[in-house]
């Protein structure tokens, strides 16, 4: 396997914009490239996640290529999914050896329609979608199953909302933030019983862009890449009445395949537009909320940019590696009704491979000795190299 890492990220989110998707994309993609010190012509692969249903135009995603610049010819792809799945495709592309660098971006314009209704069109088209439920109705059904089973409480849900809004203070991509007491939240009406306002995401228009790179390319682009150690996605049956809504089996399976239980997770960014979803995913992934910081960005609850919010979770988790504040992190993304599909991405700051630091990176060790702890925590984290896999 090639070592692949997130080397830079960029975001935008506003409640509503009159910009076209292309106009929104360009500055965010530019920002991610500038942060990586990469020029467009140096990008081997572009991968885009979006949903034509949001725009209301078949093949609308093709126009996003205008934001990339398609001459000289570029290699690009698109998934009709959140950008997190585009990142998975780009990671695979790099594994094939056909690319060393990739830009992944997810974007959505949620303000142009009632997206809670639009997204419910993912339901079975013959026995569910024709009834016209929205995502909030479906989320309420899942929340109540968990509440009835005693797995979560309404107070747990309100605590998720209060913590998310508090953590979102200072995050320019957050659309709601601030201090609010759990008791005050619980005093609010159940606008869509069992859900209160604070259980329902604030929708946004925006973009997340991520640059990933392989091996020495990653090392040359940033001091402390967020190495993708494991990435996997799984899917449950489509119909919500025929699957385990509490256990979220596809999240459990993805976590197991990523070896999530093998070590501490410092930061977990969970893609949970609704409060109960964070609680169910945290449980399914086996995370200990005492040892792991959950959604320090505020999460999708405070800024639900459709088709970007999942990629944003991977980006936010990676940022805590890039800035040196965490060593092992998790980004999670979900798609489909009621947590049907789940993607888990585990990233670490520690180098696995003894490496030669590029001469362009000054004041850092030029070689490291197997068996010794890396002398520079900025460069590769804290694991002794001798325990780790040697370069083939």
């Amino acid at each position: 396997m090639r070592e692949v890492a997130v080397v830079s990220t960029a975001h935008s989110a506003v409640a509503a914009t009159t910009e076209t998707p292309i106009e929104t994309l360009i500055p965010v993609i530019d920002a991610a490239l500038v942060a990586a010190g990469l020029e467009r012509r140096q990008v081997d692969f572009w991968c885009h996640g979006s949903c034509d249903y949001l725009v209301g135009q078949p093949f609308s995603f093709v126009s996003a290529v205008d934001a990339l610049g398609a001459w000289p010819p570029i290699v690009e792809s698109h998934v009709e999914m959140d950008g997190a799945w585009a990142l998975y495709e780009a990671w695979l592309k790099i594994q094939t050896g056909e690319a060393d660098t990739a830009v992944i971006f997810g974007n959505g314009k949620s303000s142009v329609a009632n997206m809670f209704r639009v997204m419910a069109l993912q339901l079975d088209p013959y026995v569910e979608a024709p009834l016209g439920p929205d995502q909030i109705a479906l989320a309420g059904l899942q929340a109540r199953v968990a509440l009835d089973a005693g797995v979560i409480t309404e107070r747990d849900m309100a605590e998720v909302a209060a913590r998310s809004r508090r953590d979102a203070v200072g995050n320019p991509a957050a659309l709601v933030s601030g201090e609010v007491s759990v008791d005050d939240l619980l005093a609010g009406d159940k606008v869509r019983d069992p859900l209160r306002h604070h259980d329902i995401p604030v929708m946004g228009d925006g973009v997340t862009a991520v640059v990933i790179a392989a091996d020495d390319a990653a090392r040359s682009l940033t001091a402390r890449p967020a190495w993708i150690r494991a990435i996997d996605h799984r899917i449950d049956a489509q119909r919500i009445g025929g699957r385990d809504l509490i256990g979220v089996p596809s999240a459990v399976a993805a976590a197991a395949r990523c070896g999530l239980g093998a070590g501490r997770i410092d930061v977990a960014e969970i893609h949970a537009p609704f409060t109960h979803e964070e609680l169910l995913v945290t449980r399914a992934l086996g995370l200990d909320a005492g040892a792991t910081r959950i959604n320090p960005s505020g999460g999708a609850l405070v800024s639900n940019v459709l088709m970007a919010a999942g990629l944003a979770r991977i980006a936010r988790a990676a940022e805590s590696i890039l800035d040196g504040s965490a060593d092992r992190v998790l980004g999670h993304a979900t798609q489909g009704p009621c947590l049907q599909q789940n993607l888990v991405c585990v990233m670490e700051g520690a180098c696995w491979v003894p490496c030669v630091v590029p001469s362009s990176v000054s004041a850092r060790p030029t070689t490291r000795v197997a068996g010794q702890t890396c002398p520079s925590p900025v460069w590769c984290g804290r694991l002794p190299i001798g325990r780790l896999r040697m370069r083939a």
Binding site: T18, G56, L123, D124, P125, Y126, V127, E128, P130, L131, G132, P133, I136, A137, L138, A139, G140, L141, Q142, A143, R144, V145, D148, K190, V191, R192, D193, P194, L195, D236, A237, R239, I240, G241, G242, R243, L245
Partner: protein, 166 residues
């Protein structure tokens, strides 16, 4: 952009000067639904709720065409009851024309007697105090029902003799 240009149905000029117009998207296709859904949706018009059964005895309503875990092709049929119990519910306070009822109602997952899975539909109750998990409900058939999920108008509470809804 002149004011005259913003003169069509639903056209408007936003505060920042940008022109907005409605885009009402629909996919009015005719589709075939295959033998399993075809039998189920046709059965509903005859007031029968059909189900498929897998080798492990799981009864799927609405019928599944394949077992999600094993891939087993499912074509053994049974009929199940048109009564069952509420597995979960959420409240619809502000319904629109596309939904089964034009007054506030509960979205429900209902497990019909004899079934192992639950189906989504609407429950006709007046307020949130009239619905609870585990309550007994039955199908209310649509008048002049045509094949399709709308042959079920909605679910309604099963009245217990001598009392209110169970």
């Amino acid at each position: 952009m002149t004011d005259e240009m913003a003169d069509g149905p639903g056209y408007a000029i936003a505060d920042d000067g940008s022109f907005t117009a409605p885009l009402n998207l629909a996919y009015p296709y005719s589709r075939t639904v295959g033998p399993i859904y075809g039998a189920f949706l046709t059965g509903l018009a005859n007031h029968k709720v059909g189900a498929t059964v897998s080798a492990d005895g799981t009864v799927f309503v609405p019928p599944a065409e394949f077992h999600a875990s094993t891939g087993e092709r499912l074509d053994n049929w049974v009929d199940v009851a048109n009564e069952g119990e509420v597995v979960s519910w959420s409240w619809e306070a502000d319904p629109d024309d596309s939904q089964p009822l034009n007054r506030p109602f509960a979205w429900v997952l209902v497990r019909l007697d004899g079934a192992d899975t639950a189906m989504l539909h609407a429950l006709d109750v007046t307020d949130t105090s009239s619905v609870r998990t585990g309550m007994r409900v039955r199908v209310r058939w649509a008048a002049d029902a045509e094949p399709g999920i709308h042959a079920i108008a909605c679910f309604e509470p099963v009245e217990i003799a001598g009392g209110g809804p169970s």
